[in-house]
Symmetry: C2
Subunit: 379 residues, 2 copies
């Protein structure tokens, strides 16, 4: 299967001796290429099986190399959160959704100056955003598709009432070169362990059916109904009406995704390689990955202490951190590392950790096969 993943092949076929993981300077971000390939395949197959348009969110990897692989495996386009992500991803697709309200003159001008051949879709939840988008689109004479974002329980952004969604869709239709393309929701509130999501999924089913029926009655039938996110991705086929999914985390996975059962521990492709730098204080070991390398994200929607866990000893967690220090809790293990030993840590929330790195190392077993930049990091 792996031979299919052309863009994940080694950087060169030179005769230089292979670089081993233990030769890397730490902290370093590693991605297991075999696991990555499996993760990419699994979501592509799930989406194809259920007839979803797969539009992965690039926030997790911020890499055109990974995005190109997602597209080659059948993704219809990509989802972005920032102007920088749009610009970088315009190199690999002509179909981009900005799943984020586009406000501010500088940001509007930047997003709408993407190459003309890129079909841009922007999500909105306010009249102010629609009117600002329409005004700029008219000035630069660029067609822009619009998704109206509905809040389906996350209570972050998204209109609260179907009437507001209808009003926004109509306002969009009145303002060429905007066109109303569909609705979008982010079910980020569904973070329970996979087996305990039933009640929230039932509510989502009910609310979405009602919204779709009322919008159809009002003459603003959404062509696209865009949902999905990794924690609930595998159950999106249970929600009638959904036509598109936008998962991001599934490419690498992380400790939270494994804890809620949306992947197995063995599906975690991303680790931070770190070195034990001190064992001076009893009962702990200090590694050179602190919150500037691991972030400080909790495990969400599930139990799990600390900020990361060792790949091959998940009972050993990073319990405290300073900026460049991570403190391993050795209370649940008889393992005692030596100063200079390397460890591989699975972070709680991989998207945040990728954003802390400039380069990712692609590995197979203990060999470093490739490197790629986190090109869409930054602003």
């Amino acid at each position: 299967m792996l031979r299919r993943h052309l863009s994940l092949q080694p950087d060169t076929d030179s005769d230089a001796p292979p670089l081993r993981i233990d030769q890397l300077e730490t902290p370093a971000a590693l991605v297991d290429l075999d696991i990555l390939a499996q993760n990419l395949d699994r979501m592509a197959e799930y989406s194809a099986l259920h007839g979803f348009a797969l539009r992965p969110h690039v926030k997790t990897h911020k890499s055109p190399r990974i995005a190109a692989e997602q597209l080659r495996l059948g993704a219809v386009g990509l989802t972005c959160a920032t102007p920088r992500e749009l610009e970088v991803m315009a190199d690999v697709t002509r179909d981009l959704v900005l799943a984020y309200p586009l406000l501010g003159a500088a940001k509007l001008a930047r997003a709408l100056s993407l190459p003309a051949e890129v079909q841009l879709t922007v999500a909105v939840d306010s009249m102010i955003a629609v009117d600002a988008l329409a005004a700029t689109a008219r000035v630069v004479d660029r067609p822009v598709q619009v998704y109206v974002e509905l809040d389906m329980g996350m209570h972050r952004v998204g209109v609260q009432r179907v009437d507001d969604a209808i009003a926004l869709a109509m306002r969009v239709q009145e303002q060429p070169p905007l066109t109303f393309a569909g609705i979008m929701f982010y079910p980020g509130h569904i973070r329970e362990p996979v087996g305990e999501q039933d009640a929230k999924l039932e509510q989502l089913r009910t609310d979405l059916s009602l919204a779709l029926a009322r919008m159809e009655d009002a003459g603003v039938r959404p062509g696209v109904v865009s949902g999905g996110s990794t924690p609930a991705a595998w159950r999106m086929h249970e929600i009638p009406g959904v036509t598109e999914v936008r998962p991001g985390t599934y490419v690498y996975n992380d400790r939270t995704t494994a804890e809620i059962g949306a992947c197995a521990w063995e599906d975690c492709a991303f680790t931070v390689l770190a070195t034990v730098v001190s064992t001076a204080v009893e009962g702990q070991a200090v590694v050179d990955a602190g919150c500037k390398a691991l972030g400080r994200e909790p495990v969400r929607g599930a139990s799990g202490e600390g900020y990361a866990a060792m790949l091959d000893r998940p009972e050993v967690t990073v319990q405290r951190m300073s900026e460049e220090h991570g403190i391993l809790d050795l209370s649940r293990t008889s393992w005692r590392p030596r100063v200079g030993d390397q460890v591989r840590l699975v972070p709680n929330h991989v998207c945040i950790v990728v954003h802390l790195n400039d380069v990712i190392h692609g590995v197979r077993r203990n060999i470093v096969e490739s490197h790629w930049p986190v090109s869409a990091r930054g602003r």
Copy 2:
């Protein structure tokens, strides 16, 4: 006073109209240049008054421009945590301390390949680190000074017993081209509000006197006794024996520093500029600065909810975050922002936020005067 700060002057004197803050794309990192200048002066004056060698930690700003200003105001050299920080700061000083255990062949080789005219000092807390440092220093024939790090209550790194410090110092002395230069401690456990630090300071005084006396008796008298950190910096003159301080955060300050009383709210030079992107959910407003722009650091050692507070309305805090969304809690204010409004947010822990940015904008009132790269960010 501000005219003294030559390196903080506007980038150009061109006739182009000045850039206003409200023209910046958000999120953006801003530093108020007047407040920065005051903060730099205050610490330089405190150190001079008490005869301390000031060796600021660059982890906060990661900028040779700010470092050059610290040196011009009297700093004897700089403190770094990573090889990248050493490399970048070697452009502005010949006196660098790596206040971090140096382990791993790749990292050792990199640190010891700094330009030969740079005097490098490395902190250690293990025989393994001393021996590895000595071996590499011999191979590249480079003199390296060593600080032995003692744990004075932080329980992170640092030897636990004075006997161990003496043994490490002796081991250093036996291994040219290493030389024993002194001891270092990081009083990061002293994070109480400034008025409540007495008990811990008393303990520190006692422990340090004892350590110094015993080391002197053993014939390894430390030439340098390096302490300090912003939260306890203003009380370091109460600790006899300290010759050097290494504060970092004081240049910009942050919400935590203000909450514990180590600076005033008006001394917070650093803010994240953000735009209100949604008010769709009642009682809150969403801004385009989430944990990829603000970090997810708690207020430490003091009360204070949330992850950042508005500069001009500190009662309004960022209460929840996603990667690119920050949710303002409006429950303690009658202020109701509109979509498109800009806000300035003081983060809980500025060092983490600087590390998330590539560029800092220097501002005075509502004008953007300069920009500088976070050159020592990354690895």
